[in-house]
């Protein structure tokens, strides 16, 4: 097999080395995702990323015995560039691909597991790793991976033809599919890698049209409707049923091209999705959204009393009028055999409904506003007992925080509504109070409801004060930026996280971690907006925006630290309740039980080592006032998870540090450096500073790699509670000798074959 690949490779001429990855994407691609690493590095540097604690965790996870990863650059990818993923479909096979720039080929290759490395074919400056229907090709500065999925439908229809291509009698359709698929993917990959297609995606107007300036991520789908249709028909084909009689390539929902961009602005994270609506749907959409929320609503909007809201500007009459044609377009496209039935049904629908009249009663404009939380008096049943403990039911009241909301619904038919109200009053479902109404208490709803009708708007609230203010025109309009937001868009959802959380009484919180999350969220959350725009020519936009506090730098910076902080809260909390020391005491399988700060013995494959902390004064330390050696510190730094008295904490912390070193130090390293067999020591000195962080890490040892390893491992120590001297937080210095044994290495015979 390898020989064949080699042969093919040598036959394909390498036409130039293109600089831009983007120009390699074929114009026929159905979907493309661009990750703009360069843009993200402008916002958040590599160093910043490497210093995040969750990054360090990830590096630890991925690092193997010989590979130590300390930076996201160690993966070998060129981060200051754009990477792409794209999807191309043919009727027989679908290709899923990714294109990335490499900055360090060797670093990347280190990540490949050993057993796979032997499969790498190298020729012509290219490296190829192929497995089933996936192939990875890379050279010194570019990497391409292609994965092919055979189109089930195609093989089913052409089964006979393919079976004729069998190599041998016992090959079945699956073997043939696999072989063909693999060949197609390989050919496809070589073509993409080595050539610049004459027509690349850069000539595709649709792709270029949606690219956002300064976006961190960009995605483009050529035709959403077609993609969905193909996907659904593929699924129904797999289940051997043409479920809905799908016709491929007919756009459903009227959505054609879709573009998405993710932006990290200075003050917000924004995701925008733009959709191109197909011609025959444009008219319907435009009509349905032809509506505006006017002053009759906005005069009752007070932004100080609106912690969240949801506005809809739709046209009920138009919706009802367009509904039949939409249904027939939808189902007609999907179920052509029922064309007559759907047309008749939709016609009947039109006859039966008076769209205009309904549109009159319910204009389609709505505004839901969340006003906050207030204490309400609630009645409940409980029991009282007499002297002989006989039980009787009594009703008591209590106050409970319940949300307040106001719903505004557009209506132009006051007459009809009043008729309903009169009827409801007749049956005592509704009580009239001065100039508003109260709906009778109903168990399905947890609160009382009030309503009033004013100038083409029905107001519904659960707060009597609010309805009274509305009825008596006591609301002062204060719309701020929301007025234009609401009027410009078909729908707006807005929430002010900070205000909402501010309404929650802290007494309702239990549990430390909840409280910490809550307070953190309250401090950092701001506004969230989700807007759906009206149709502009043939495009519609949905934008999701989260405002970020500007003091925390740009929004990507904020987001990274946000996750960092959340993880820290979680970690600190779990560490407080979990005592890893307990596990140590139980006596882990191969570890000796120890007392006092003595040796922790672990058994590694090649070496037996000891770690003990000698209480010696650090030579390098200067300021004895600020920098206290471990041996004399009053209150030693506390390792997370340690509890107890001062002495216990000191002991526990010591042991935890030892355990940490024991678990993380790569002991096998000692045997690979050509050192003389025997006992060796690596000294690491470091400080736990006033904030509990590990700083000033230095090492001395018989080999540089061992020193580096010592430093690496100590740097991985978690943040601790800082040491205290006379009540003040101080830096505490440590000297840690790590004992290792270098074993005699038995030389392995080389395979002469």
């Amino acid at each position: 097999m390898k020989k064949i690949i080699l042969l093919v490779l040598l036959c394909i001429p390498i036409i130039g080395i293109s600089q831009s990855l983007e120009s390699k994407i074929p114009s026929n691609a159905q979907a493309v995702v661009a990750i703009n690493g360069d843009r993200m590095l402008e916002l958040f540097s590599i160093e910043q990323f490497n210093n995040l604690s969750f990054s360090k965790e990830i590096f630890k996870e991925i690092a193997k015995n010989d590979v130590s990863i300390t930076s996201v650059e160690d993966f070998g990818f060129n981060l200051n560039s754009k990477a792409y993923a794209f999807y191309e479909m043919t009727d027989s096979i679908n290709y899923f691909n990714a294109l990335v720039k490499l900055s360090d080929k060797k670093a990347f290759e280190k990540l490949i597991p050993e057993y796979k490395k032997q499969n790498i074919v190298r020729a012509n400056g290219l490296n190829i790793l192929s497995e089933y229907s996936t192939i990875i090709i890379w050279n010194d500065n570019m990497l391409l991976t292609c994965h092919g999925e055979n189109a089930y439908q195609y093989f089913e229809t052409n089964k006979e033809r393919f079976l004729l291509q069998a190599d041998s009698a016992d090959q079945d359709i699956y073997d043939i599919k696999e072989r063909l698929g693999k060949t197609w993917v390989e050919n496809y990959a070589y073509r993409i890698f080595n050539n610049n297609p004459t027509k690349s995606i850069l000539q595709n107007k649709s792709y270029l049209a949606g690219k956002g300036k300064n976006a961190a991520y960009y995605f483009w789908i050529n035709n959403y409707g077609a993609l969905m249709t193909q996907y659904m028909s593929a699924i129904s084909a797999v289940f051997s049923q043409n479920l809905l009689g799908m016709q491929p390539n007919k756009s459903i929902y009227g959505i054609e091209a879709v573009w998405g961009n993710l932006y990290f602005d200075n003050d917000a994270v924004r995701v925008t999705t733009d959709m191109e609506i197909s011609k025959d749907w444009i008219k319907s959409y435009k009509k349905m959204y032809k509506s505006k929320i006017g002053s009759e609503f906005l005069n009752y909007f007070d932004q100080n009393n609106a912690l969240a809201y949801w506005s809809i500007s739709a046209n009920t009459q138009a919706i009802l009028e367009e509904y039949p044609s939409i249904i027939s377009k939808l189902y007609g496209g999907m179920l052509p055999q029922y064309q007559e039935e759907t047309t008749l049904a939709t016609d009947l629908f039109s006859i039966l409904l008076d769209e205009e009249a309904i549109g009159n009663v319910l204009t389609g404009n709505m505004l839901f506003v969340f006003n906050g939380v207030s204490e309400k008096t609630v009645a409940y049943t409980t029991y009282e007992y007499d002297d002989d403990y006989n039980r009787t039911e009594v009703i008591k009241t209590k106050s409970e925080p319940l949300p307040d909301f106001t719903i505004m619904i557009g209506s132009e038919n006051k007459k009809l509504l009043n008729k309903f109200i009169r009827l409801a009053a007749k049956y005592e479902l509704v009580n009239q109070k001065v100039n508003y109404y109260k709906i009778k208490e109903n168990n399905d709803l947890p609160f009382g409801l009030f309503f009033v009708i004013k100038e083409d708007v029905v107001f519904l609230t659960n707060s009597e004060k609010q309805i009274s203010d509305i009825a008596n025109n006591k609301i002062t309009a204060n719309t701020g930026k929301h007025k234009s937001l609401i009027r410009k868009n078909a729908s707006v959802f807005y929430a002010n996280g900070k205000s909402i959380l501010g309404e929650v009484p802290e007494t309702l919180l239990t549990g430390g971690i909840e409280r910490e999350y809550f307070n953190y969220a309250k401090e950092h959350l701001s506004e969230i907006t989700l807007t759906t725009s009206r149709l502009k020519r043939n495009k519609m936009q949905v934008e999701f925006k989260i405002n970020t506090p500007q003091q925390k730098g740009n929004s990507l910076n904020f987001l990274m630290h946000f996750f960092e902080d959340l993880i820290a809260i979680d970690k600190n909390h779990n560490n407080r309740y979990v005592a890893p020391v307990e596990e140590l005491k139980e006596g882990n399988k191969s570890e000796k039980v120890y007392d006092n700060a003595e040796a922790v013995v672990g058994e590694a494959k090649n070496a037996v080592y000891e770690v003990d902390i000698e209480e010696e004064v650090v030579e390098e330390s200067e300021d004895m006032l600020e920098d206290i050696p471990f041996s004399v510190i009053e209150v030693a730094p506390v390792y997370p998870g340690c509890k107890g008295s001062n002495a216990e904490l000191k002991n526990c912390s010591l042991k935890s540090i030892q355990k940490h070193i024991a678990e993380n130090f790569n002991t096998g390293l000692a045997n690979k450096l050509g050192l003389v067999p025997g006992k060796i020591k690596v000294y690491v000195v470091f400080k736990i500073d006033k904030k509990g962080n590990v700083v000033d890490v230095r090492a001395r040892g018989p080999h540089k790699r061992l020193e580096e390893e010592g430093i690496r491992v100590v740097k991985l120590l978690p943040q601790m509670l800082p040491g205290k001297q006379r009540g003040k937080s101080v830096d505490v210095s440590y000297a840690l000798p790590i004992s290792l044994v270098v074993e005699e290495v038995v030389e392995e015979k080389n395979d002469d074959n």
């Binding site: 403990y389 709803l445 309702l508 919180l509 239990t510």
Partner: protein, 223 residues
Amino acid sequence: MPKILVKFLLIIPLFLFAGCFEIIEEVTLNKDGSGKVSLTINLSKSKAKLNSIMLLDSVNDYKVPAKSEIEKHFTDVANTIKNIKGISNVKNTINFKEYIFNISCDFASVEALNAVISNFSTKEDAKKISINKHFIYDKTKNLFTRSYHYDLAKEFNKTNMADRKIFKTATYTTIYRFEKSIISANNKAAKIAGNKKAIMLRLNAQDIISNKNTIKNKIQLQK
């Protein structure tokens, strides 16, 4: 639409659901060891929150059952109890307006009650129950004992934080009524009625779980 709306509006106080409810266990014991038992669960104090929860699909990772499901569940329980030897006159009431649920029955002897509890437990627990019976009535000694087999603290530790909140302000009340007079009871927290024919114990769930107090009691009756 209304469901989504309510969901959206009520999400805030919801995740802070700290339960307020009471459980009342009443046993009336006749001279011959037969009697009546009634178990009432009153969630009325959390009525507002429950109304909101009932409109959701799930909360705290538990699926919210429909009213019909809850009713069926109670009827099933009632039917199972009916078939246990020594149990008769099983009644159950469900009040969704106030969220008060009650199930009651007559028993021929307290052994039947233990059988009922065993019936709803696992095999392991049933064994434990036969050793640590929940109800014991010693006719010769005129001693009525209320006990249980499980280790509450252990059970509680198994529950997660979010669920624990539910028991924050829950109370458990037991009332036992006898034909004969009560001489003494070994549970200090229990109060004997004026007419000496009834004894009541009211505890906070928190106290029971932290073992500060217990519903266990040994009641000595007059001959």
